[in-house]
């Protein structure tokens, strides 16, 4: 019988195990393969210990900015990062939590949210002091986070993000961020220390400078990143926004990648790299080995992924709270997936055409998470537009990021077999 409330211990343990396995198996040749899991292990451990170390714990979603929380010594647990590790690395994945949640909420709600609801219902996930998320990009978030907060007694704040991405919208979001700060001060009794926030913002800015430089390097042929790294890096950028550990990771990553590109080295060699894929939606978190299979089987490198497509510019002026809030409002709206999936479809298709173009993709992959109604509604439009603009095909298939019962690994591989057979043989 598992001990209640130990999901954070489990994901911290799983991340540590992956880190150690990577280090022992590939440490000599690829020490970087252990880096992200090392960071995640520490991050989950920090979240697990938050309450006993006297720090408030906040659940946040993938489009929420971590900087404010770290600056106030509140631990922001990005739920999506946690559920991703649950699906990927825990025995049985997220299935038991999904099944439990479906006893109370519909099966078509996002399995990320269902994992969270199920874990809360099971008592395996300690309830946080507060839940904070932004209203974009999907109904599933809106449908579950406030309800969990009400049902389980957590404080709740929604950062409302308008449909339109214009000056009025950014100003409104900047106001929301300032109201969030006041709300956090009220809930925690902690006053925001401006010097601390500026320090956090300096780290955040440095991180985004590195990310922009790394993005450029990743455009190289052959691709200097492995496919799995391309997607898994997303988790640490989300989890550790504003932390020096992230800056340190990105600096090492940048130097390593720069050296590789200068030497003309890729994860696969120029000869081995035959097909470049841009994942314009979703990825099977329950089985990242599919990415390695694509490399081995077809020389298909996943060079880009919508989720890890951070094209956020550093906040230029961090001299006062108003300017920081305005800068963070831009960042918040431009967080991957929030940027693409909220607002009119042009936000999405333009960004994905740009991503495919920059990454010199031979094909786009729309791994359609079945819960994402907003993007399924425009999948065909996107496929057609990408073809019109870039003359590359798009593979569209149904799957669930967290639940292999919707489309198993074998099922997904079969889709690729068919796709490559049709377009690349």
């Amino acid at each position: 019988m598992e001990k209640k409330g130990d999901i954070l211990t489990a994901v911290a343990g799983a991340s540590s195990l992956i880190r150690d396995t990577m280090a022992s198996k590939f440490g000599n040749k690829h020490p970087e393969w252990a880096w992200t899991n090392a960071l995640l292990a520490d991050y989950f451990e920090t979240a697990r210990q938050a309450k006993e170390s006297g720090r408030p714990l906040a659940w946040v979603n993938f489009c929420t900015i971590g900087e404010i929380f770290w600056a106030m010594d509140i631990v922001p647990l990005v739920i999506d990062v946690m559920t991703g590790v649950v699906a990927m690395a825990l025995p049985g994945g997220a299935i038991k939590y999904i099944d439990l949640a479906e006893q109370h909420i519909p099966d078509h709600i996002c399995s990320n949210n269902k994992t969270c609801v199920g874990a809360a219902l099971a008592g395996d996930l300690p309830m946080p002091d507060m839940i904070v998320h932004q209203s974009a990009p999907c109904d599933s978030n809106l449908a579950t986070f406030p309800v969990i907060a009400e049902c389980f007694g957590s404080s709740y704040f929604c950062i409302d993000v308008p449909y339109w991405r214009n000056e009025a919208g950014f100003e409104y979001v900047a106001g929301e961020i300032k109201r969030l700060i006041s709300w956090l001060e009220d809930k925690t009794g902690r006053k925001l220390d401006m010097d601390r926030l500026k320090q956090v913002m300096a780290y955040s800015n440095l991180a985004h400078e590195y990310i922009l430089k790394i993005n450029q390097l990743r455009e190289a042929i052959p691709c200097p990143y492995s496919s799995i790294e391309t997607i898994s890096e997303y988790a640490v950028v989300l989890a550790l926004a504003g932390k020096p550990e992230l800056v340190d990771y990105l600096r090492r990553r940048y130097e390593l990648t720069k050296g590789r590109v200068e030497r003309g080295e890729g994860h696969l060699s120029r000869d081995q790299e035959k097909i470049r894929l841009a994942w314009i939606y979703g990825a099977p978190a329950f089985d990242f080995t599919i990415f390695s299979w694509l490399e081995r089987q077809y020389g298909a490198v996943s060079v880009a992924n919508m989720n890890n497509n951070f094209i956020i510019r550093p906040v230029e002026d961090i001299s006062d709270l108003n300017k920081i809030a305005r800068g963070l409002a831009t960042k918040l709206v431009e967080m991957p997936m929030g940027r693409e999936c909220g607002g009119p479809w042009e936000n999405y298709v333009d960004a994905m055409i740009d991503l495919c173009r920059r990454s010199k993709a031979d094909a786009a992959i729309f791994a359609g998470h079945v819960a994402c109604k907003h993007n399924w509604a425009i999948a065909k439009l996107v496929k057609d537009r990408i073809y019109d603009e870039l003359r590359i095909p798009t593979l569209i298939f149904e799957m669930d990021v967290y639940d292999p019962r919707i489309a198993s690994s074998e099922n997904i591989k079969a889709k690729f077999d068919e796709f490559f057979g049709a377009f690349f043989e």
Partner: protein, 374 residues
Amino acid sequence: MSALEELVGLTRDLTNPAVQDWKAKKRKIVGHFCSYVPEEMLYAANVLPYRVRAPHCAETTLADVYMSHFNCSFVRSCLQFVYEGKYNFLDGFVFTNSCDHTRRLYDVMRETGVGKPFMHFLSVPHKVSVQSVAYYRDEISKFKENIENSFGVEISEKNLKEAIQVYNETRHLLRRLYELRQEKAPPLTGEESLSILLAGTAIPRDQYNELLKRLLEELSRKKGISDYKARLMIAGGGCDNPDYYGAMEELGGLIVTDSLCFGSRYFWEPVELGDDLLLSLAKAYLSRPSCANMADKVAERSEFVKEMAERSKADGVVFQRMRYCDLWGGQLLHLENRLKEANIPLLALEREYRLDDVGRLRTRVQAFLERIGR
């Protein structure tokens, strides 16, 4: 013809004599999909607001070319009607971000060449605060400007104020109607009530008010319905199909109230007139009993259902939502707890837009009625 017959008759087809007359006079009609659209603004511009539906939509083959089967069948049915040309009588559309399905209609219609010259998108905030009301006020202001520019009209303060008053009169009349439904022997079935509500979404509001006044007069003399097994309340997402109600009422349930956007939530609170009419509209629309897209109103929504059920002495609540409606699906978790605390039985149903699965519906409702029946 009685007012009741006239109102019910108005919902049989997409158009009706009032719509045809409106078009014959070369006046504009604008369709919308959501109860958060301040119809008063269109009405003040002498444009007929029309709530888009797809009654008796038999198939969605054209819509399914673009939208997926993960999109709700209401949205796909509406899109099908647009592709079939059934909404050619409309001069424009208004969209909102009320849910992921409807907001994408705006994209798909524009991109597939079935948009209209007037295509307006209102960004509705997802929470209620001083700031969100101010934001929505500005959105309504842009809406006003777009109507004025697109249709070459000026919406004066006077016209807008009159429009709000006309709509407030509707709200007042509908509340009176709902009060009658609370009686021990209500004069209307739920099916009839929904038809009456739907009629208001498709005819000029002044005509509708006159019909409602006549109806209330008629109902004051009508013998109420007392041979029912149980009093039911309907809650959840938008439901615009009187036959759905009819299927439940054939089994002996009598629907006496609701918490729906085609029902009480649409009209429950009046627009309080202030110095700034746009602000009055923004405040009223955001503060009224909410849709599940309002993030910070979970408890209030459940409370509204509970209060409405208690006020109408409902024996049970039928919570229904469309398949793939996440927003109302999430609310269910809270609502079932709240109603359990209040000792109000709950039946949760998932449905498609087209009423195909009547057998299953009847079985579920029958079992529920046996559980709660008097």
